[in-house]
Symmetry: C2
Subunit: 336 residues, 2 copies
DNA sequence: CTGTTAGCGCCTTCAC
DNA sequence: GTGAAGGCGCTAACAG
């Protein structure tokens, strides 16, 4: 039952008393091999349960048919959706996926990339962590000739391939919606100020307000460090205001959940006294008793798919390509 | 910046006018190489930016330092927790992780295993899908000499390595809890009857009841196909009973969420008219307004870690080992 | 301590 | 159409 060694080309050559090269060609349907020999070879191959030794092929072809995926966390539904699509694209192309979670740790991120490099992956897809400030890995991968495509959480520099979601459109739609429901006291609970993602939200928020001629009020924009405590602190800051906002856009759904929990605890009525819209649109909203008024969808699956497709293009064209930038537009949707 | 070819051992040998084997040994800190030569070699290696070609090493050593992980879905928090721990163990051991989602599709499962085999992974960790009835892949992997360890959702056969969570203890604790709160009309919303997981729950449920001398009532045990519709239908069946149960154990948290939603919709008061306990203990409960009374923890992370550790043992011992069975015991905990 | 030789399994010129 | 030979990069006998 247990075959010590899998069959090799040589053995089937020996059996047929022909040369290994002929066998190799036959197995690869090389045109110059006679149909009969090809058949005979394949028959014996099947009998011997022959399977090509991929490691040998990888070695020879200088290609591993493997791509690496690096992202902050697998447990976030957002990234799950992305990696799922990535895997679909990869398996269509007969590539396998090696993955690593950075857990928002820049060192760990770098280590993962190193590993991927020594494993000679053919390409890398990456969404950087919140704490990643500089990007040594870009040069690392480039010097190794390994293409890398960033998605969703992308470095704020040019000359790289990236796929991401423009946060502005969703924010504008959110504010439109709030305004059309009669809200004018609209807050933003933003993430850490240094994050690109936060800066974009703020910019869009200001733009949305001014579009409706609502003046920007300092005290309506608060920041959270994205911890549960920070999230709670942020909403308390808003609730304490004499002119408490009636509508809030929050950084993402996790923030929204903490915030809504805190609101509930204080006896403020959700979707009555105060209304929420947040980014991400996590699937679990449909189970919640009082879900937010709306969500801003960021299309993780589509981003993942596009990024993967782009990566495979880069892998297939040996030439160094122009940096490509693909943008999705966030959109307001019903939660869940 | 971009080096066409990475440096090889040969080149650094040539530079130093020594033999490649010496270089190889030096780089691997072989004891028989003089300290000076070792130093010189390493110095030149660093200068040339040498990095060993893993594909060559894999090829030569007949080992890829890669393990495959196959599970139904990455997006379930349960499996995320497991794979996260698996990855931790793997990276401690300097292994990388290739993963595939079966999406509960038996064919896809088989295809993933095939791919893992051709990629010559050193071992496989697997949690089988709900629809997997027979296990051709066991023989497949065995004939290739690739050890496989199952975890959580494991085949119902002997002679395999498995790590799983005994569901009984948690069920007994749940029923104890219900009874001590004065409940005697205790229902079970179970999964598809053919699932091993369902059979175990039923058995434990019956045992728990009889422990408290509560007679088993047919109409108190209903099944769901685990779809949202099925879940709703199941609870409606219970609610329609003249002697409606006041306490329900449900198959898992997804079922519980659907069920609780349905209950809410009909104006039955959660945690008052009717109480729930379910398996899994998903982290999101802490955000829910009326969470279940308790959850049954199945320790996905611990299962993943143990399974991985076992797999690495198997990989390291060339000998075919006795089938190992490691059991965790589910436990009642506060949700979230 | 170091060098020589050989070979992992496959593919690919180059000959015939 | 087929065979022989060589080599990918590295390691591991076997010699010195």
């Amino acid at each position: 039952m247990k075959e010590g060694k899998p069959a090799t080309i040589k053995e089937i050559a020996k059996r047929l008393k022909i040369s290994p090269s002929t066998v190799s060609r036959a197995l690869n349907d090389h045109p110059s091999i006679g149909l009969v020999t090809t058949m005979r070879v394949k028959k014996v191959a099947a009998e011997l349960n022959y399977e090509p030794n991929q490691t040998a092929i990888f070695f020879k072809q200088r290609k591993t048919f493997t791509v690496g995926v690096v992202l902050p966390s697998l447990s976030e539904p957002f990234f799950s959706a992305a990696i799922s699509e990535i895997e679909n694209v990869a398996s269509e192309k007969n590539y396998t996926v090696i993955m690593g979670q950075s857990l928002d740790d820049a060192d760990r991120e770098m280590r993962i990339l190193q590993t991927l490099k020594t494993h000679r992956v053919d390409g890398v897809l990456m969404s950087i962590g919140k704490n990643t400030q500089n990007y040594p890995f870009i040069e690392l991968m480039e010097s190794a000739g390994i293409p890398i495509v960033f998605f969703d959480c992308v470095p704020d520099i040019e000359n790289i391939h990236k796929v991401y979601c423009d946060l502005e459109t969703g924010m504008l739609e959110a504010i439109d919606r709030f305004v059309s429901c009669g809200h004018h006291a609209i807050s933003l609970i933003n993430g850490p100020a240094r994050l690109l993602a936060s800066m974009e939200r703020e910019k869009a928020y200001r733009k949305g307000l001014s579009k409706h001629s609502i003046p920007f009020k300092e005290e309506y924009m608060v920041n959270t460090d994205l911890t549960p405590e920070g999230n709670e602190a942020a909403i308390l800051q808003l609730l304490a205001l004499s002119d408490r906002p009636s509508a809030v856009v929050s950084f993402n759904d996790y923030v929204a959940m903490d915030v809504m929990k805190a609101v509930r605890k204080r006896g403020v009525a959700l979707n009555q006294d105060i209304h929420f819209i947040s980014y991400a649109n996590y699937p679990l909203w449909k189970y919640i008793e009082n879900p937010p008024m709306a969500s801003i969808e960021q299309f993780p699956g589509d981003q993942g798919r596009k990024a993967a497709e782009l990566l495979f293009q880069l892998i297939e064209t040996t030439e160094g390509r122009e940096p490509t930038k693909i943008t999705f537009h966030s959109r307001l949707v019903n939660p869940g």
